[in-house]
Symmetry: C2
Subunit: 349 residues, 2 copies
Amino acid sequence: MSHETAVSEGDLTRTGMALKHDREWDYELDRIVTAVAERDASTVGLQFPEGLKRRGPAVVDDLRDRLPADVTAMLSGQPCYGACDLDTYLMRRTDVFVHFGHSPMKESEKIIYVPLFSNVAVEPILTDALDELADPGDDPDVGLVTTAQHMNRFEAMHAWLEARGFEVHTRRGDDRLTHEGQVLGCNYAAADIDAEQVLYVGGGKFHPLGLAMEHPDKRVVIADPVNNAVSVADAEQFLRQRYATVHKAMSAEQWGVIFCTKIGQGRWEQAEAIVAENDDAYLITMDEVTPDRLRNFDMDAFVNTGCPRITTDDGPQFHKPMLTPGEYEIAVGNEPLEDLSFDTFHGTW
Amino acid sequence: MSHETAVSEGDLTRTGMALKHDREWDYELDRIVTAVAERDASTVGLQFPEGLKRRGPAVVDDLRDRLPADVTAMLSGQPCYGACDLDTYLMRRTDVFVHFGHSPMKESEKIIYVPLFSNVAVEPILTDALDELADPGDDPDVGLVTTAQHMNRFEAMHAWLEARGFEVHTRRGDDRLTHEGQVLGCNYAAADIDAEQVLYVGGGKFHPLGLAMEHPDKRVVIADPVNNAVSVADAEQFLRQRYATVHKAMSAEQWGVIFCTKIGQGRWEQAEAIVAENDDAYLITMDEVTPDRLRNFDMDAFVNTGCPRITTDDGPQFHKPMLTPGEYEIAVGNEPLEDLSFDTFHGTW
């Protein structure tokens, strides 16, 4: 599967959720046990991100010790790379449903969200990052953003930077985001701040690349506390890959227009608009967008109205070029080439 | 994906649904157009089996020519290898939903089932099959079974055999099956007839192997009209593989018990019973059962209560042994080794 053969740099397996640090997570079993008692539940569904699925059985063991014997715990086997990979089947069919490791895209009484915070200290990497940030004496303004699993250290990062003379700018992105300063692979609104430099604290390359493309006027400094590395986001190479893909798709005759059926990824108007104006475009609906599922469709190119990480990060694994909706408009000549930008999602479900 | 990297011998890609014969199919567009008019539909969902997905765009084109301009057609991008791979998401969200190429497991007003029949003549392969069948003078009794795509020739096969002195035994399997004489990869009840030999007319190896295992007392003659080959089903090698897999799983400590959420594949009582009596067994729920989805679970072996074709045909592609529920009972010592049998499904949704 795409996620297996070439692990995304933006997903959890590279961002400290992997086992290399052998850290302990707080699964908040008390909250789950309480919810089971309150709802007199007979079934509990548990969904873990890919990088933590192997912890599932031990969590089930712990719950079995603490729950009545007639309560059945179930692990979701659906792929899970983000908050929008909600296993709605399991959610609807269990009395208590717990989603681990992602912050809610939208609060729901049906779902217990258990964040799993990294316990990696951030101060050492912040110290290293000083080399790439402007001297606060010259330019004190810096934006600060991070991902869900480092959110527990956000205040500490903020204070650390202020103590060194920075004026730290933060904001809560939009409805799609739970926390002040949080970014998603598909949403960088938290970096819409009044500073020429943004410090991204977190793992992976995908988030900072999206950040740099979404905010081309800002310098994006990456402080990766998990891999202990500081760098500056360079959207150049990424942009070149995207241009090459757009160029390849320009000769496409038949287009497959993917409408992703996952919660939080459905952009129906966009998908329908493309098909309405292009006689050679065909709507394809699916939940998981994988190379194997598209291989049997005889299309020359695809437009993915779902998760932009799939389109750009997994893109090379598909047998035909796959574009974001914005890139499609360029490929068919509706928009100029220089309008190429990162595909983002706003709002919730 | 499993289905891509090692094409199942039991699936459509090897049974004449592939393009090699370049045959024309009757998509019954009139029925679809009529349904759209009757329901004043604004959306039409179309689901094709994997081997025919590439025909989807042409069918959409034909429908666009004949439907009002404001009707939107959508192709299902979900994997589809059988009647139980129903795209319930698309079904629920379209006014007219058409499932091509499989006979209904259960009639539903929501779904238009369009069978796609093979146009390969069966008489030549029946003639060849005479070499493997008993002389009707010695033993005239023969069972006759086939698959959905050759069902249009069933009467002709029947008459052809009778004209040659055979007494042809047929029956409708059970609720799971639409037609007299029809078998599924998970149901061979149509061969519960009073004859020592059964003639299977159809492609692939999986169906006749299941047939031979389910009816070990009968000789199963395979007449494959698509690949133009006659053989006798030999369950020996298949059984040896299954024994080897069971043996490997005997040392398993942690078991993943898969509950498949697809329509027609859910055997909840079976899955729950295993977990209830084995403290080292963990329920995992999922729709598509693929090697990649299980790789992140730290289990020593899996029991699949869903589709037996996945377990046996795709089995070697999984990183850990995967057993049918019956095989599991053998592996944990609840049943003797000689009780190993083919896993079948009865009933409908």
